[in-house]
Structures are given as C-alpha cells and as structure tokens.
Amino acid sequence: MTFRKGLRDGLPIGLGYLSVSFAFGMMAVRAGFTVAQAVFISATNVTSAGQFAGLTLISAGASMYELGLTQFVINLRYALMSLSLSQKLDNSMTTLHRMLFAFCNTDEVFAVASGQKGLVGRRYLYGLITLPIAGWVLGTLLGAAAGTLLPELIINALGVAIYGMFIAIVIPPAKNDRAVRVAAVAAAALSCVLYYAPGLKNISSGFSIIICAVAVSAFCAWRFPIRVDEKEDAAP
C-alpha cells in the first residue's frame, strides 16, 4: 500500500477524467467563462455532475441559495461515500489527513479505495488522488483552450468514457459475489424507474442517486448481511 501503488491505481482514473473534464472546459467557455475561470472551478470543486450543473446556474444568474442547494443535493452521495470510506482508513489517517484527502474523495477514487483488501493508509490515498486531480485540471485547461477545435463526433464519443470506467469498477466484484450483482442490477433498474416513470421526472439526478443508493444498499444489507469478523481480520 505505497504511494507508488496509489499512483498506479490512480492513473486510469486520471486518464478517464481527462475526457470528462475536457468536455467541462469546452462547455464552460461556450457558457461565457474564461479559460482561467474554468480551470479555477475544476481545481476548487473536483466534482463532475456538480460542476456541470453549476455552469448552467451561474451563467443564468441563479441565487446563491439555489446554487448551494443544488450542489448539496447532487453531491450528497459523497457523504455516503465518506461515511463508508471512514471505516476503511488505518491509523495513519489522522484528522488533518482526513480533512486534506476529503477534498478529492470523488466517485472513482472512493470506488478504487474501497475495492482494496483490508485497511488503506495515507501514502496509498495521496498517491491515488494525485493523477486524478492532475487529469481533472489539465483536461479542463485543454478543453477550455482547444475543445472547440475538435470534431463534434469525438467530443460526443468521449461522453461515455466515465461510464465505461464505472462499469469496469462494478463488474469484477459482481462476477464473484451474487449480492453485489443484485445490488448493481437493482440500482440500475431503480434508477431507470425514477428516470422514466411519469410523475417522477422532477427528481433531480443527484437526488435519484441518493434514493437508489440508500434503498438498494439497505435491501441488500437486510437480505445479504456481510460477515463482520471477516472484515476485521482483513486488516493488514
């Protein structure tokens, strides 16, 4: 669990972020932000869905309250992830380090860190977030500076990169663990129901994710409780 292993695990995340943040930079410039402002947003927020929503709200002159509330709902899922990750940290993660690391606890960083066997420590986590932050900021810069020069076809195709990465994180454990398979399929199904069902369309995507995560995880926890002693033994 060294810094180097963290870097290696973070490389694909960083490369995946390049394409998503590239799209963000491009859209920010189209919405009237300067290149420097787009990069500043990425460097201070490090969150995909929240930033995209922020672009629309800021350029429309929304109230601070509305912006804050939207970010809260879209990003509330991170509270669940941080809660979950708090159980996987070893003693090297003191309060100060937890506060520093939290800045970059993104969906993918969280998923990769939770996928490790046993507890994770400071060196590994700092290695893990280095390239994702670099990729996120660099991609924004490139997208803002040059995004409008790329063919539309390629820009559109890059939109699925992040989902490919999500699938790559979920499938391997789902292959071996029936409960994870149930959780993944049920969450996808529920998410589609919330999206397509008439009358439920007003649920924001951030809130829909929270509903799916809580409902499906609670169901699986009830039906397929994990073996607790096994988890504690897994500590290095």
């Binding site: 929240g50 939290a102 799916c212």
Partner: protein, 103 residues
Amino acid sequence: MTWRYILPYVLVMAGVTYLIRMLPLAALRKRIKNRFFLSLLYYVPYAVLSAMTFPAVFYATGSVLAGGAAVAVALVLAWKEQSLLTVAVAASVGALIVLAIGG
C-alpha cells in the same frame, strides 16, 4: 464573465461540496460495529456507480445506440477484468464507431 461575478458562486459550490465530503470522514473516527450498517456501507459504492451509469449512459453521446454500444463493449471487457483505462477507452471507441456510421 468577470471574476467579481463568478467568485462568490464558485466559493459557495466548492464550500458545500467540500463540507459534504469532509465532515463524515473527519467526524467518524470510531469503528462501526453494527452489522446491518456495515453491510449497507459495503453495498453503497456499487449501488451509486450503477445508478449513475443507468440510464445516463444512453444519453451521454446524443445517440442511444452509441450509448448501448459503449455499454456492451464495457460489459464484455470488464467481465474479462481489463483495466479501468482499457474499458473506458474501448467504450468510447465503440460509441465513436456507431456515431460515425450514423447510429
């Protein structure tokens, strides 16, 4: 837009996002013992990623077919336990091919 105009907005966004991430991590120092709660936390990442992917992936390119192609490619490669990067790039190439032939 001027810095004067965007700065308060961006700081609100960044502040809200950071606090949501930081508070549970910094405040929860104890090991949770409750088996149900531990199990719930174990399933959260898979449920979150799955809910974020579907149905959003079908609308990520402007073509539902291209999104479907990306999902198919990603599922096969992920099943073969290829790296995150390989799967992400191959999914994009799959979508690109469908988009290029006008799907």
